[in-house]
Symmetry: C2
Subunit: 463 residues, 2 copies
Amino acid sequence: MSTAIEPVDPDVRAHVQSRRDEFLDGLKEWLRIPSISADPAHAGEVAHSAEWLAYRLRAAGFPTVEVWPTAGLPAVYAEWPSGDDGAPTVVLYGHHDVQPVDPVELWDSAPFEPFVRDKGQVYFHLLGMSAHLVTTGRTSPAVNLKLVIEGEEESGSPSFAQLLRERRDRLECDVVVVSDTGVFSRYAISVCVGMRGLMRGEISLRGPGGDLHSGSFGGAVANPTTVLAHLIAALHDDDGHVTLPGFYDDVAPLSDRERELFGALPFDEVTWLRDAQSTATHGEEGFTTLERVWARPTAEVNGIAGGYADSGFKTIVPSQANAKVSFRLVANQTAAAVPAQAAAWLEQRRADGTIPPGIEVELVFEETGVRPCLTPLDHPALQSVTRAMERAFESRVLYTREGGSGPQADLAEILDVPVVFLGVGLPDDRIHAPNEKADVEFLLRGAEAAAYLWSDLAATWDR
Amino acid sequence: MSTAIEPVDPDVRAHVQSRRDEFLDGLKEWLRIPSISADPAHAGEVAHSAEWLAYRLRAAGFPTVEVWPTAGLPAVYAEWPSGDDGAPTVVLYGHHDVQPVDPVELWDSAPFEPFVRDKGQVYFHLLGMSAHLVTTGRTSPAVNLKLVIEGEEESGSPSFAQLLRERRDRLECDVVVVSDTGVFSRYAISVCVGMRGLMRGEISLRGPGGDLHSGSFGGAVANPTTVLAHLIAALHDDDGHVTLPGFYDDVAPLSDRERELFGALPFDEVTWLRDAQSTATHGEEGFTTLERVWARPTAEVNGIAGGYADSGFKTIVPSQANAKVSFRLVANQTAAAVPAQAAAWLEQRRADGTIPPGIEVELVFEETGVRPCLTPLDHPALQSVTRAMERAFESRVLYTREGGSGPQADLAEILDVPVVFLGVGLPDDRIHAPNEKADVEFLLRGAEAAAYLWSDLAATWDR
């Protein structure tokens, strides 16, 4: 990364800019299809969105375009072989569904009107492919390209892993490129190198067989809400470390280089806190805010319930209490390890008296969590993405991660290949909130970066 | 209490037994009026119940009978002066409303059918008065009697304190007799000497301005559900003592005599646990189960809520969390002292870091709680009640308390007199649960005890 940035290819830029209006018109048309995957009433719109995209991909020259049904909403698949011997095969992942737009009244303009949004990160690839072909004089891409554009990402990709398993043969590849992430800021162009994994569970406590009169019984039987509180309080130590035995054993420690690169990002705590709607940061001792959300695992209580907490009072000893807890995981943790660690932790709590006689505790996890993913900084595909982005944005790129979890890790696991991220979302997109927008210029730079990427991958890939 | 039990007055018993059928017919008629105070749809029935009782009181000879309207449901007031110079004045408290009968399908017989219930403890006093007059040859009672029978006890007596203040002049008296409690068991006749007080509050925590994506922000901001758990966990020490500073300062310690009397009760843990629908007792170190529920103050979490705890998962850092907490109080604590103690406790939690930056905590208490009440064992009115009960039941009586809280303490406070309890409810009444019943024989013994009590109070009262 100490070599000079390659100069912009003026032909690529000229081609992309010449198609700006056409690109925007097409994107706006697509955006007006409200493909809200989380709302069953919009299932028809998601199907419409898939057909629209399939039509455009065929028009763009993809020789194979298919709409793939799933147990849920359809995905779009498109394939364009390179024709070159030894060309690497790339699966390009994106999604064509969008978030629900409630509350509509908070949007400055009507939703799905000409605002460029999530779908922009899929759509710029059509322009990128056009630039790649026109400027290289090719009739097919330099890589074997396989697009898979799912329709349920915004509702948690419930059918995606199954789809990948079923279509594994068709999706065989050397690397996955994900276009769904963002840059650190408008002025700090970056490439994402990892996402956190996730394991979600529920802890349920049962005390008395029914709610009891707190006058008649209060003080003489264990209260499940109080015991739950003790358990939650025991989930972290005084330094904010998660207390599950073995939880950190597999955690890839941050290298000095990674910490240095995180530190090079122009992190502004005031801005971060504004986005977090918070007045202070708080977390694991010894780590910065970015390290906490990107590179450290967490145990987060997502909700608690027990007894009567609505308006007024019911003076009861509650019969039951429960909490939802999610664990964010980082490389090289596995979601599958968490349930056993949590069970061992619970045994410790029984042994140390945190769980008194009279309270039954049950701990249930989801069947499969989400794996964390991390691209090593020296990975050749990441070098290609880095060069493509630096060239398109005429700027050194830095490296970020995402704290969230997504189907990207399924791609890595099921297809058994590395995943790299080519994303140009802007942080002021206010992900999943009203007035989401992406800067058109960033989408055009994304198209340029894609054009460079296919050539770079083909030229540098070492089979 | 070492003197011999006075023998039954055969005339009293004969009179009471001779009126058994008449008593039961009247009670059944009254029970069939579903005076459910908690259900606004039954307001008319509560008014009907009040008018019915007023009619019966007039028929029984009370020269003054009034239905007193309140801000809520009506109370019944009746007065019968003794005519004797220097006769003590007694306010007799009871209630004529009943609990909602849901779930109806769990009742072995249709509710309000001829099952003797709560109202029986008011109704036996009419028979008691009749026995008192007939067997003493009097035309008015030996004490100045003032009945006040409220209509909202089962829904928390929301209007009762106000009614007492408004009618304070009419209710001037020397002692209050409450007929609303029970004996320890069918085979261990007892007199209640106290009830716990109550102060209810809510603790509310605010963290981020809205629910946050736990991937993007989890691990780097304080989570209000976790902080609430730490606060709840800090509410008791390892021995189960409440940690509010000064909480125990005014607590009347149990005397050796009181502990001895509690110990004399035939307490059966297996039965108690069955009633508590629990598999184990748990509470403050150094106290028995009865001491814990009758003579020790508590802090009980009645409910918790925060974030998303329903089916499925929402991986959020919740914006808010709250808990309802109620403090049961014993003599000589005051409900008014609790908010300041809790505020001081909260300051300690801020100081010791339990509440991290970024979390706002608000603690709100109800305006007025309920005071605890305790009749000293050597109080003359309690001696009268003891003698009357021992005579009626031909048995030594033991002393109990109630762990609950009720308007009885308002009577003591607003009328500024001692309160004694004359109650014959049986513990297998399963208070507030389906199949509630009271043994008719116990109600008849209650009538006998009332007949003795008025004479005893008049004879022994030292003005």
